[in-house]
Symmetry: C2
Subunit: 213 residues, 2 copies
DNA sequence: GGTATCCAGTACCCATCGGTATCGAGATCG
DNA sequence: CGATCTCGATACCGATGGGTACTGGATACC
Protein backbone atom coordinates (compact mmCIF):
# COMPACT_ATOMS: atom_id res chain seq x y z
CA UNK A 1 0.00 0.00 0.00
CA UNK A 2 1.00 3.63 -0.44
CA UNK A 3 3.11 4.07 2.67
CA UNK A 4 5.81 6.50 1.87
CA UNK A 5 7.42 9.06 4.10
CA UNK A 6 6.63 7.41 7.42
CA UNK A 7 9.55 7.19 9.85
CA UNK A 8 7.38 9.08 12.36
CA UNK A 9 8.94 12.53 12.77
CA UNK A 10 12.70 12.89 12.62
CA UNK A 11 11.97 16.53 12.79
CA UNK A 12 13.72 17.53 9.59
CA UNK A 13 11.45 19.30 7.10
CA UNK A 14 9.44 16.84 5.08
CA UNK A 15 10.15 17.16 1.36
CA UNK A 16 7.35 17.66 -1.07
CA UNK A 17 6.34 15.38 -3.95
CA UNK A 18 6.79 16.73 -7.48
CA UNK A 19 3.58 18.07 -8.85
CA UNK A 20 3.51 15.60 -11.72
CA UNK A 21 3.84 12.72 -9.33
CA UNK A 22 0.89 13.96 -7.27
CA UNK A 23 -1.13 14.22 -10.42
CA UNK A 24 -0.14 10.74 -11.54
CA UNK A 25 -1.07 9.17 -8.22
CA UNK A 26 -4.40 10.97 -8.15
CA UNK A 27 -5.16 9.82 -11.68
CA UNK A 28 -4.26 6.22 -10.87
CA UNK A 29 -6.33 6.22 -7.71
CA UNK A 30 -9.24 7.85 -9.49
CA UNK A 31 -9.11 5.14 -12.15
CA UNK A 32 -9.32 2.44 -9.51
CA UNK A 33 -12.10 4.08 -7.55
CA UNK A 34 -14.21 5.10 -10.54
CA UNK A 35 -13.90 1.57 -11.93
CA UNK A 36 -14.79 0.02 -8.61
CA UNK A 37 -17.65 2.22 -7.47
CA UNK A 38 -18.83 4.03 -10.57
CA UNK A 39 -18.73 7.75 -11.22
CA UNK A 40 -21.60 8.89 -9.03
CA UNK A 41 -20.66 6.80 -6.01
CA UNK A 42 -17.02 7.79 -6.10
CA UNK A 43 -16.37 10.49 -3.53
CA UNK A 44 -13.51 12.87 -4.21
CA UNK A 45 -12.42 12.47 -0.61
CA UNK A 46 -12.07 8.70 -1.13
CA UNK A 47 -10.10 9.13 -4.32
CA UNK A 48 -7.75 11.59 -2.66
CA UNK A 49 -7.32 9.28 0.33
CA UNK A 50 -6.64 6.31 -1.96
CA UNK A 51 -3.83 8.32 -3.51
CA UNK A 52 -2.50 9.34 -0.12
CA UNK A 53 -3.72 12.93 -0.22
CA UNK A 54 -6.78 14.98 0.63
CA UNK A 55 -9.43 16.70 -1.40
CA UNK A 56 -7.25 19.79 -1.51
CA UNK A 57 -4.80 17.98 -3.78
CA UNK A 58 -7.61 17.10 -6.15
CA UNK A 59 -8.83 20.66 -6.52
CA UNK A 60 -5.29 21.87 -6.82
CA UNK A 61 -4.70 19.61 -9.84
CA UNK A 62 -8.17 19.35 -11.39
CA UNK A 63 -10.96 21.84 -11.68
CA UNK A 64 -13.80 19.52 -10.79
CA UNK A 65 -14.87 15.91 -10.49
CA UNK A 66 -15.96 16.04 -14.10
CA UNK A 67 -12.57 17.29 -15.19
CA UNK A 68 -10.76 14.59 -13.23
CA UNK A 69 -12.84 11.98 -15.01
CA UNK A 70 -12.14 13.58 -18.37
CA UNK A 71 -8.42 13.52 -17.60
CA UNK A 72 -8.59 9.77 -17.06
CA UNK A 73 -10.53 9.40 -20.28
CA UNK A 74 -7.93 11.12 -22.44
CA UNK A 75 -5.05 9.47 -20.60
CA UNK A 76 -6.39 5.99 -21.19
CA UNK A 77 -7.55 6.63 -24.74
CA UNK A 78 -3.95 7.05 -25.85
CA UNK A 79 -2.76 3.82 -24.30
CA UNK A 80 -5.61 2.15 -26.13
CA UNK A 81 -4.60 2.13 -29.76
CA UNK A 82 -1.02 1.16 -28.99
CA UNK A 83 -2.29 -1.87 -27.15
CA UNK A 84 -4.14 -3.12 -30.21
CA UNK A 85 -1.14 -2.54 -32.46
CA UNK A 86 1.25 -4.28 -30.08
CA UNK A 87 -0.05 -7.76 -30.78
CA UNK A 88 -0.25 -7.04 -34.47
CA UNK A 89 3.03 -7.30 -36.23
CA UNK A 90 4.80 -9.99 -34.24
CA UNK A 91 3.47 -13.05 -36.02
CA UNK A 92 4.41 -14.32 -39.45
CA UNK A 93 1.68 -16.58 -40.85
CA UNK A 94 -2.05 -16.05 -40.56
CA UNK A 95 -3.09 -18.92 -38.27
CA UNK A 96 -0.39 -18.03 -35.76
CA UNK A 97 -1.45 -14.42 -35.85
CA UNK A 98 -5.05 -15.33 -35.16
CA UNK A 99 -4.10 -17.62 -32.34
CA UNK A 100 -1.98 -14.95 -30.77
CA UNK A 101 -4.39 -12.08 -31.25
CA UNK A 102 -7.34 -14.04 -29.88
CA UNK A 103 -5.37 -15.00 -26.83
CA UNK A 104 -4.10 -11.48 -26.21
CA UNK A 105 -7.48 -9.82 -26.51
CA UNK A 106 -9.21 -12.47 -24.43
CA UNK A 107 -6.61 -12.09 -21.75
CA UNK A 108 -7.09 -8.37 -21.65
CA UNK A 109 -10.85 -8.83 -21.33
CA UNK A 110 -10.52 -11.30 -18.49
CA UNK A 111 -7.54 -10.01 -16.54
CA UNK A 112 -7.84 -6.26 -16.80
CA UNK A 113 -11.22 -5.76 -15.22
CA UNK A 114 -10.45 -2.16 -14.33
CA UNK A 115 -10.20 -1.47 -18.03
CA UNK A 116 -13.57 -3.02 -18.75
CA UNK A 117 -15.31 -1.39 -15.85
CA UNK A 118 -13.92 2.00 -16.72
CA UNK A 119 -14.95 1.45 -20.31
CA UNK A 120 -18.51 0.79 -19.28
CA UNK A 121 -18.52 3.78 -16.96
CA UNK A 122 -17.17 5.97 -19.74
CA UNK A 123 -19.77 4.74 -22.21
CA UNK A 124 -22.56 5.33 -19.71
CA UNK A 125 -21.30 8.80 -19.01
CA UNK A 126 -20.93 9.55 -22.68
CA UNK A 127 -24.66 9.02 -23.01
CA UNK A 128 -25.54 11.55 -20.37
CA UNK A 129 -22.78 14.09 -20.83
CA UNK A 130 -22.44 15.72 -24.19
CA UNK A 131 -18.84 16.76 -23.72
CA UNK A 132 -17.75 13.25 -22.81
CA UNK A 133 -19.65 11.90 -25.78
CA UNK A 134 -17.84 14.24 -28.12
CA UNK A 135 -14.55 12.78 -26.96
CA UNK A 136 -15.60 9.15 -26.88
CA UNK A 137 -17.25 8.87 -30.27
CA UNK A 138 -14.15 9.65 -32.37
CA UNK A 139 -12.08 7.48 -30.08
CA UNK A 140 -14.31 4.49 -30.75
CA UNK A 141 -14.30 5.25 -34.42
CA UNK A 142 -10.52 5.13 -34.42
CA UNK A 143 -10.57 1.80 -32.63
CA UNK A 144 -12.95 0.29 -35.16
CA UNK A 145 -10.83 1.62 -38.00
CA UNK A 146 -7.69 0.17 -36.42
CA UNK A 147 -9.32 -3.24 -36.16
CA UNK A 148 -10.39 -2.95 -39.78
CA UNK A 149 -6.87 -2.07 -40.83
CA UNK A 150 -5.57 -5.09 -39.01
CA UNK A 151 -7.91 -7.35 -40.93
CA UNK A 152 -6.96 -5.70 -44.19
CA UNK A 153 -3.26 -6.10 -43.43
CA UNK A 154 -3.60 -9.78 -42.63
CA UNK A 155 -5.71 -10.68 -45.62
CA UNK A 156 -3.54 -8.69 -48.00
CA UNK A 157 -0.49 -10.37 -46.61
CA UNK A 158 -2.10 -13.78 -47.05
CA UNK A 159 -3.57 -12.91 -50.42
CA UNK A 160 -7.09 -13.92 -49.41
CA UNK A 161 -10.38 -12.19 -50.12
CA UNK A 162 -12.27 -11.78 -46.83
CA UNK A 163 -16.02 -12.46 -46.61
CA UNK A 164 -16.84 -8.86 -45.67
CA UNK A 165 -15.06 -5.62 -46.37
CA UNK A 166 -12.43 -4.67 -43.80
CA UNK A 167 -14.27 -1.69 -42.44
CA UNK A 168 -17.26 -3.79 -41.50
CA UNK A 169 -14.94 -6.46 -40.19
CA UNK A 170 -13.40 -3.89 -37.88
CA UNK A 171 -16.79 -2.91 -36.58
CA UNK A 172 -17.71 -6.55 -36.00
CA UNK A 173 -14.50 -7.26 -34.15
CA UNK A 174 -14.65 -4.14 -32.06
CA UNK A 175 -18.26 -4.62 -31.07
CA UNK A 176 -17.77 -8.30 -30.38
CA UNK A 177 -14.80 -7.53 -28.17
CA UNK A 178 -16.70 -4.89 -26.24
CA UNK A 179 -19.71 -7.16 -25.98
CA UNK A 180 -17.60 -9.99 -24.66
CA UNK A 181 -15.96 -7.69 -22.14
CA UNK A 182 -19.31 -6.42 -20.90
CA UNK A 183 -20.67 -9.93 -20.73
CA UNK A 184 -17.70 -11.08 -18.73
CA UNK A 185 -18.15 -8.25 -16.27
CA UNK A 186 -21.77 -9.12 -15.74
CA UNK A 187 -21.40 -12.90 -15.73
CA UNK A 188 -17.77 -13.78 -15.12
CA UNK A 189 -18.24 -17.53 -14.97
CA UNK A 190 -20.67 -17.61 -17.87
CA UNK A 191 -18.15 -15.93 -20.16
CA UNK A 192 -14.70 -16.96 -19.02
CA UNK A 193 -11.28 -16.73 -20.56
CA UNK A 194 -11.73 -19.83 -22.68
CA UNK A 195 -15.10 -18.78 -24.05
CA UNK A 196 -13.86 -15.36 -25.00
CA UNK A 197 -10.79 -16.78 -26.68
CA UNK A 198 -12.73 -19.35 -28.68
CA UNK A 199 -15.24 -16.74 -29.79
CA UNK A 200 -12.53 -14.37 -30.93
CA UNK A 201 -10.54 -17.08 -32.64
CA UNK A 202 -13.56 -18.28 -34.56
CA UNK A 203 -14.61 -14.84 -35.76
CA UNK A 204 -11.06 -13.78 -36.47
CA UNK A 205 -10.55 -16.94 -38.49
CA UNK A 206 -13.72 -16.41 -40.46
CA UNK A 207 -12.89 -12.79 -41.23
CA UNK A 208 -9.44 -13.60 -42.55
CA UNK A 209 -10.10 -16.76 -44.50
CA UNK A 210 -10.91 -16.95 -48.19
CA UNK A 211 -14.57 -16.25 -48.80
CA UNK A 212 -16.32 -19.27 -50.31
CA UNK A 213 -18.93 -17.70 -52.46
CA UNK B 1 -49.38 14.09 -23.49
CA UNK B 2 -50.81 13.00 -20.21
CA UNK B 3 -53.58 15.49 -19.87
CA UNK B 4 -56.47 13.69 -18.31
CA UNK B 5 -59.01 15.03 -15.91
CA UNK B 6 -58.77 18.68 -16.87
CA UNK B 7 -62.13 20.35 -17.41
CA UNK B 8 -61.12 22.80 -14.65
CA UNK B 9 -63.38 22.09 -11.67
CA UNK B 10 -66.93 20.92 -12.25
CA UNK B 11 -66.96 20.43 -8.56
CA UNK B 12 -68.02 16.79 -8.52
CA UNK B 13 -65.60 14.57 -6.62
CA UNK B 14 -62.64 13.53 -8.75
CA UNK B 15 -62.42 9.74 -9.14
CA UNK B 16 -59.23 7.94 -8.28
CA UNK B 17 -56.99 5.94 -10.64
CA UNK B 18 -56.76 2.16 -10.08
CA UNK B 19 -53.66 1.26 -8.15
CA UNK B 20 -52.31 -0.94 -10.92
CA UNK B 21 -52.58 1.90 -13.37
CA UNK B 22 -50.64 4.20 -11.06
CA UNK B 23 -47.96 1.58 -10.76
CA UNK B 24 -47.84 1.07 -14.52
CA UNK B 25 -47.48 4.76 -15.23
CA UNK B 26 -44.78 5.15 -12.62
CA UNK B 27 -42.88 2.22 -14.07
CA UNK B 28 -43.14 3.57 -17.60
CA UNK B 29 -42.02 7.03 -16.55
CA UNK B 30 -39.18 5.60 -14.50
CA UNK B 31 -38.00 3.65 -17.54
CA UNK B 32 -37.93 6.80 -19.62
CA UNK B 33 -36.18 8.90 -17.02
CA UNK B 34 -33.63 6.28 -15.98
CA UNK B 35 -32.79 5.68 -19.63
CA UNK B 36 -32.47 9.37 -20.31
CA UNK B 37 -30.52 10.56 -17.28
CA UNK B 38 -29.04 7.43 -15.74
CA UNK B 39 -29.76 6.01 -12.33
CA UNK B 40 -27.88 8.46 -10.15
CA UNK B 41 -29.11 11.60 -11.90
CA UNK B 42 -32.74 10.50 -11.94
CA UNK B 43 -34.61 12.22 -9.12
CA UNK B 44 -37.64 10.44 -7.74
CA UNK B 45 -39.51 13.70 -7.84
CA UNK B 46 -38.89 13.97 -11.58
CA UNK B 47 -39.99 10.41 -12.22
CA UNK B 48 -43.18 10.94 -10.26
CA UNK B 49 -43.86 14.22 -12.07
CA UNK B 50 -43.24 12.55 -15.45
CA UNK B 51 -45.91 10.02 -14.56
CA UNK B 52 -48.31 12.74 -13.40
CA UNK B 53 -47.93 12.13 -9.67
CA UNK B 54 -45.72 13.13 -6.77
CA UNK B 55 -43.07 11.38 -4.75
CA UNK B 56 -45.79 10.13 -2.41
CA UNK B 57 -47.09 7.85 -5.15
CA UNK B 58 -43.64 6.39 -5.63
CA UNK B 59 -43.17 5.52 -1.98
CA UNK B 60 -46.70 4.20 -1.82
CA UNK B 61 -45.95 1.71 -4.60
CA UNK B 62 -42.23 1.03 -4.18
CA UNK B 63 -40.08 0.77 -1.10
CA UNK B 64 -37.13 2.74 -2.40
CA UNK B 65 -35.39 4.06 -5.49
CA UNK B 66 -33.44 0.84 -5.68
CA UNK B 67 -36.62 -1.19 -5.57
CA UNK B 68 -38.23 0.87 -8.29
CA UNK B 69 -35.25 0.21 -10.51
CA UNK B 70 -35.37 -3.49 -9.71
CA UNK B 71 -39.06 -3.55 -10.64
CA UNK B 72 -38.21 -2.17 -14.06
CA UNK B 73 -35.47 -4.72 -14.42
CA UNK B 74 -37.72 -7.72 -13.82
CA UNK B 75 -40.52 -6.24 -15.87
CA UNK B 76 -38.32 -5.71 -18.90
CA UNK B 77 -36.45 -8.97 -18.56
CA UNK B 78 -39.62 -10.91 -19.30
CA UNK B 79 -40.45 -8.98 -22.43
CA UNK B 80 -36.91 -9.72 -23.54
CA UNK B 81 -36.90 -13.39 -24.41
CA UNK B 82 -40.24 -13.25 -26.16
CA UNK B 83 -38.90 -10.52 -28.41
CA UNK B 84 -36.06 -12.73 -29.60
CA UNK B 85 -38.38 -15.65 -30.20
CA UNK B 86 -40.90 -13.56 -32.08
CA UNK B 87 -38.77 -13.11 -35.18
CA UNK B 88 -37.73 -16.72 -35.08
CA UNK B 89 -40.33 -19.04 -36.48
CA UNK B 90 -41.92 -16.92 -39.17
CA UNK B 91 -39.57 -17.67 -42.05
CA UNK B 92 -39.25 -20.84 -44.04
CA UNK B 93 -35.83 -21.09 -45.66
CA UNK B 94 -32.52 -20.12 -44.14
CA UNK B 95 -31.53 -17.10 -46.25
CA UNK B 96 -34.92 -15.51 -45.70
CA UNK B 97 -34.67 -16.16 -42.00
CA UNK B 98 -31.28 -14.53 -41.79
CA UNK B 99 -32.43 -11.54 -43.78
CA UNK B 100 -35.43 -11.10 -41.54
CA UNK B 101 -33.64 -11.67 -38.26
CA UNK B 102 -30.81 -9.29 -39.10
CA UNK B 103 -33.26 -6.61 -40.06
CA UNK B 104 -35.37 -7.06 -36.94
CA UNK B 105 -32.47 -7.00 -34.52
CA UNK B 106 -30.82 -4.05 -36.25
CA UNK B 107 -34.05 -2.15 -36.15
CA UNK B 108 -34.43 -2.76 -32.45
CA UNK B 109 -30.91 -1.56 -31.85
CA UNK B 110 -31.42 1.61 -33.82
CA UNK B 111 -35.02 2.53 -33.06
CA UNK B 112 -35.50 1.52 -29.46
CA UNK B 113 -32.84 3.62 -27.84
CA UNK B 114 -34.57 3.49 -24.48
CA UNK B 115 -33.97 -0.23 -24.47
CA UNK B 116 -30.29 0.16 -25.18
CA UNK B 117 -29.77 2.94 -22.70
CA UNK B 118 -31.57 1.04 -19.98
CA UNK B 119 -29.55 -2.02 -20.81
CA UNK B 120 -26.33 -0.11 -20.33
CA UNK B 121 -27.59 1.42 -17.12
CA UNK B 122 -28.58 -2.00 -15.85
CA UNK B 123 -25.22 -3.50 -16.72
CA UNK B 124 -23.40 -0.67 -15.01
CA UNK B 125 -25.52 -1.02 -11.93
CA UNK B 126 -25.06 -4.77 -11.91
CA UNK B 127 -21.35 -4.16 -11.48
CA UNK B 128 -21.78 -2.03 -8.40
CA UNK B 129 -24.81 -3.61 -6.80
CA UNK B 130 -24.58 -7.25 -5.87
CA UNK B 131 -28.31 -7.80 -5.79
CA UNK B 132 -28.81 -6.41 -9.27
CA UNK B 133 -25.95 -8.52 -10.52
CA UNK B 134 -27.55 -11.66 -9.15
CA UNK B 135 -30.62 -10.93 -11.24
CA UNK B 136 -28.86 -9.82 -14.40
CA UNK B 137 -26.34 -12.64 -14.77
CA UNK B 138 -28.88 -15.48 -15.20
CA UNK B 139 -30.95 -13.24 -17.44
CA UNK B 140 -28.02 -12.73 -19.77
CA UNK B 141 -27.23 -16.40 -19.66
CA UNK B 142 -30.75 -17.19 -20.79
CA UNK B 143 -30.46 -14.73 -23.65
CA UNK B 144 -27.22 -16.29 -24.86
CA UNK B 145 -28.76 -19.73 -24.61
CA UNK B 146 -31.80 -18.60 -26.56
CA UNK B 147 -29.62 -17.24 -29.33
CA UNK B 148 -27.71 -20.50 -29.35
CA UNK B 149 -30.93 -22.47 -29.63
CA UNK B 150 -31.99 -20.34 -32.55
CA UNK B 151 -28.78 -21.15 -34.40
CA UNK B 152 -29.17 -24.81 -33.60
CA UNK B 153 -32.76 -24.81 -34.83
CA UNK B 154 -31.87 -23.14 -38.11
CA UNK B 155 -28.88 -25.35 -38.89
CA UNK B 156 -30.72 -28.52 -37.98
CA UNK B 157 -33.60 -27.46 -40.16
CA UNK B 158 -31.23 -26.81 -43.02
CA UNK B 159 -29.14 -29.88 -42.36
CA UNK B 160 -25.88 -27.93 -42.21
CA UNK B 161 -22.99 -28.27 -39.81
CA UNK B 162 -22.18 -24.82 -38.42
CA UNK B 163 -18.58 -23.66 -38.05
CA UNK B 164 -18.82 -23.38 -34.25
CA UNK B 165 -20.99 -25.17 -31.75
CA UNK B 166 -24.36 -23.50 -31.13
CA UNK B 167 -23.61 -22.48 -27.56
CA UNK B 168 -20.61 -20.47 -28.63
CA UNK B 169 -22.58 -19.13 -31.57
CA UNK B 170 -25.19 -17.87 -29.13
CA UNK B 171 -22.56 -16.08 -27.11
CA UNK B 172 -21.06 -14.53 -30.22
CA UNK B 173 -24.41 -13.31 -31.47
CA UNK B 174 -25.50 -11.98 -28.12
CA UNK B 175 -22.25 -10.15 -27.45
CA UNK B 176 -22.09 -8.78 -30.97
CA UNK B 177 -25.65 -7.50 -30.66
CA UNK B 178 -24.95 -5.84 -27.34
CA UNK B 179 -21.70 -4.46 -28.64
CA UNK B 180 -23.42 -3.00 -31.69
CA UNK B 181 -26.12 -1.49 -29.53
CA UNK B 182 -23.58 0.14 -27.25
CA UNK B 183 -21.59 1.38 -30.18
CA UNK B 184 -24.67 2.91 -31.75
CA UNK B 185 -25.49 4.70 -28.52
CA UNK B 186 -22.02 6.17 -28.30
CA UNK B 187 -21.57 6.95 -32.00
CA UNK B 188 -24.95 6.95 -33.69
CA UNK B 189 -23.76 8.00 -37.12
CA UNK B 190 -20.69 5.81 -37.02
CA UNK B 191 -22.81 2.71 -36.46
CA UNK B 192 -26.10 3.27 -38.18
CA UNK B 193 -28.98 1.02 -39.12
CA UNK B 194 -27.31 -0.21 -42.29
CA UNK B 195 -24.02 -1.02 -40.61
CA UNK B 196 -25.69 -2.96 -37.84
CA UNK B 197 -27.82 -4.89 -40.28
CA UNK B 198 -24.90 -5.80 -42.53
CA UNK B 199 -22.81 -6.89 -39.57
CA UNK B 200 -25.57 -9.09 -38.22
CA UNK B 201 -26.41 -10.54 -41.62
CA UNK B 202 -22.80 -11.46 -42.26
CA UNK B 203 -22.24 -13.13 -38.90
CA UNK B 204 -25.62 -14.81 -38.95
CA UNK B 205 -24.90 -16.13 -42.40
CA UNK B 206 -21.50 -17.44 -41.41
CA UNK B 207 -22.85 -19.14 -38.30
CA UNK B 208 -25.58 -20.97 -40.19
CA UNK B 209 -23.76 -21.98 -43.33
CA UNK B 210 -22.00 -25.26 -43.89
CA UNK B 211 -18.54 -25.23 -42.37
CA UNK B 212 -15.84 -25.64 -45.02
CA UNK B 213 -13.21 -27.54 -43.18
C1' DG C 1 18.66 34.69 4.92
C1' DG C 2 14.78 36.95 3.80
C1' DT C 3 10.77 37.29 0.88
C1' DA C 4 7.40 35.83 -2.54
C1' DT C 5 5.08 31.98 -4.37
C1' DC C 6 3.18 27.54 -4.67
C1' DC C 7 0.21 24.00 -3.30
C1' DA C 8 -1.78 20.59 -0.48
C1' DG C 9 -4.30 20.48 4.07
C1' DT C 10 -8.30 22.05 6.89
C1' DA C 11 -12.54 23.77 7.96
C1' DC C 12 -16.59 25.13 6.34
C1' DC C 13 -20.79 26.08 3.29
C1' DC C 14 -25.02 24.80 1.34
C1' DA C 15 -27.75 22.73 -2.44
C1' DT C 16 -29.60 18.47 -3.20
C1' DC C 17 -32.52 14.54 -2.73
C1' DG C 18 -33.80 10.03 -0.63
C1' DG C 19 -36.63 9.04 2.84
C1' DT C 20 -40.45 9.90 6.63
C1' DA C 21 -44.52 11.73 9.07
C1' DT C 22 -48.75 13.39 8.48
C1' DC C 23 -52.89 14.86 6.19
C1' DG C 24 -57.16 14.54 3.80
C1' DA C 25 -59.94 13.20 -0.18
C1' DG C 26 -62.30 9.36 -1.85
C1' DA C 27 -63.19 4.47 -1.79
C1' DT C 28 -65.23 0.57 0.93
C1' DC C 29 -68.15 -1.48 4.23
C1' DG C 30 -72.01 -2.14 7.43
C1' DC D 1 -75.15 7.55 5.79
C1' DG D 2 -71.67 7.46 9.03
C1' DA D 3 -67.18 4.81 10.32
C1' DT D 4 -63.07 3.13 8.71
C1' DC D 5 -59.56 2.34 5.52
C1' DT D 6 -56.62 3.37 1.46
C1' DC D 7 -53.23 5.79 -0.76
C1' DG D 8 -51.40 9.68 -2.99
C1' DA D 9 -50.23 14.71 -1.78
C1' DT D 10 -47.63 17.89 1.18
C1' DA D 11 -44.29 19.38 4.20
C1' DC D 12 -40.34 18.39 6.29
C1' DC D 13 -35.83 16.20 7.89
C1' DG D 14 -30.98 15.16 7.77
C1' DA D 15 -27.03 13.11 5.62
C1' DT D 16 -24.21 13.55 1.97
C1' DG D 17 -20.58 15.40 -0.77
C1' DG D 18 -19.05 18.83 -4.41
C1' DG D 19 -17.11 23.02 -4.12
C1' DT D 20 -14.69 27.23 -1.71
C1' DA D 21 -11.91 30.21 1.46
C1' DC D 22 -8.27 30.26 4.03
C1' DT D 23 -3.98 28.37 6.35
C1' DG D 24 0.78 27.13 6.81
C1' DG D 25 4.78 24.89 5.63
C1' DA D 26 7.97 24.00 1.84
C1' DT D 27 10.21 25.63 -2.35
C1' DA D 28 12.13 29.12 -5.47
C1' DC D 29 14.16 33.29 -6.14
C1' DC D 30 17.13 37.25 -5.09
Amino acid sequence: MPEAESRSHPPGPVPRLPRDEVRRRLLAAAGRVFAERGYADSKLEDIARAAGFTKGAVYSNFGSKQELFAAILTERSEAELFGVMAGLDAAADVPAFIEQAARAVARRIIDDTERGRLGLEIATRALHDEETGAVVAPMRRAQRAAAGQAVRAVTEHAGTTPPVDPELAGTILHCLTNGLAMEHLVDAEGVDSDTAERALRAVLGWLTEEADK
